[in-house]
Symmetry: C2
Amino acid sequence: MIEILFLGTGASIPSRERAMPCVAVRCGTDIALFDCGEGSQRQMMVSPFSFMKIKGIFITHMHGDHFLGLPGLLQTMGLSGRKDKLTVCGPKGMSAALDSIFSVCEGNIGYELDIREAEHGLSVEFGGFSVSAFRTDHTAESFGYKLSEKETRGRFNKEKAIKLGLSPGPDFSKLQNSETVKGVTPEMVMGPPRPGCNLVYSGDTSPCGELSDAAAGVDALIHESTFSDRESGLAADHKHSTSVQAAETAKACGCRALFLIHISNRYDNKGEIEEEAKAVFGNTFAPDDMDMYKVSKDSVRRV
Amino acid sequence: MIEILFLGTGASIPSRERAMPCVAVRCGTDIALFDCGEGSQRQMMVSPFSFMKIKGIFITHMHGDHFLGLPGLLQTMGLSGRKDKLTVCGPKGMSAALDSIFSVCEGNIGYELDIREAEHGLSVEFGGFSVSAFRTDHTAESFGYKLSEKETRGRFNKEKAIKLGLSPGPDFSKLQNSETVKGVTPEMVMGPPRPGCNLVYSGDTSPCGELSDAAAGVDALIHESTFSDRESGLAADHKHSTSVQAAETAKACGCRALFLIHISNRYDNKGEIEEEAKAVFGNTFAPDDMDMYKVSKDSVRRV
């Protein structure tokens, strides 16, 4: 089960309603952040997620609306006493940009920054999940990311364990931690491992093969939808996607749910964007800032 | 008359209640911005002030909480179609930092940026006001700024003009624009020019002579108040001021009103800070984010 918190769902320029792009995904207690537009740290402060639990930050490309919240967030984590290593992955140039900003702003980090230069196929492992990068098609060098939750242990059959003569307490814990207890092996009382959930975060991109490959069969596709279908020319000119293109990708790739973000402030409300995507792919959502969804293998629901 | 809008009143790290430092001052329709912490552009979007009316931005020092909202704001003004020249004044290093950020973020400005390197005594003129810089005492090179509204024309004596045989309409306009009409000179019907208001914005600083010199007799002193009086040791260590030090400066300098900002998030509420300053200097205000005040020669009032 993963939880998706939409911290910022706007594009290019913030509005009263939408902050700059930033999506937090929680697996267990660990958090991955995708893009970090200006103001993301404050959005997180008013959310139920703690920025101290972020294990990795993944920047899709270096346009300001996706990157300019990163220096402040990194600095705030340091000032808040973070000691844990933090992985930050982004395109070529990101590391030098951070160095340059911190040198002039006297950024005091105080914890290990593990900077990774994104490249197609790069994979980063964390405790409960991994994140891999794939190339996308935008006006700057750009990447999308796929998060894959690791499989979790199977269901423990308490009744069967009792029938086999064991008692609740330490014996049960040992079995769940793969130990044999009084002749009872874990396999006898544990169900098969449960597959993890996965999601793809597109960043800014025109529809492209690498994105479709990554999105095949994912539980959640978080796709940019800068323009509505009637402005597909503008989308092509600026190497963005329309709502309908996002929905067509979700449909063609057999995704379970589609979330539309990076919606231009030219649209007074998201209704148009959401409706035309839903007509192509029914299980489409156009979240507002601070909306949170739980995605499991059984359901996708707003919480 | 000047209007002061407190867009961000926090220090170092944003909180749910306080954004990073940014204060907008409006003279007529023109706006000067003092500091530009992360998120300032969005604070301005939900305020009654338009960022397109900003004529000058004045950065006190290059610590992230005072600077990291500037690149995004400059970019947003460009994307919003700004064509007017914008003056941006700040310490050495600011210009190179902006260049470096815009080169990696592909910042598209599209209007003239007039970058001024701050130095003690520098003065910048605008239509209705001027802003001068003075050196302050912080851990980085730092400046405070004094804004002086230009004097405005005197009151027009309508009754006297009518007695002298003139009629409301074009004749009145001409007189108010310094023209003689039918033998009536402007001096005969216009009162003396009215002096403008002035204010000082301290930035981050320990109490220092240059600040006191600038603040002598000003209508409004906007002073940092990072710490309460009981933490004066911390204030000294980090070259900040306490609320009481700010109030003592306001009192010694004969300021008309004191506004405390840059309040550390270690204080759950501003009561302590405000009360101890008021005990020294009665006309003290500790504004919340988005509070606005009108300052004239007759009154200082929240609007």
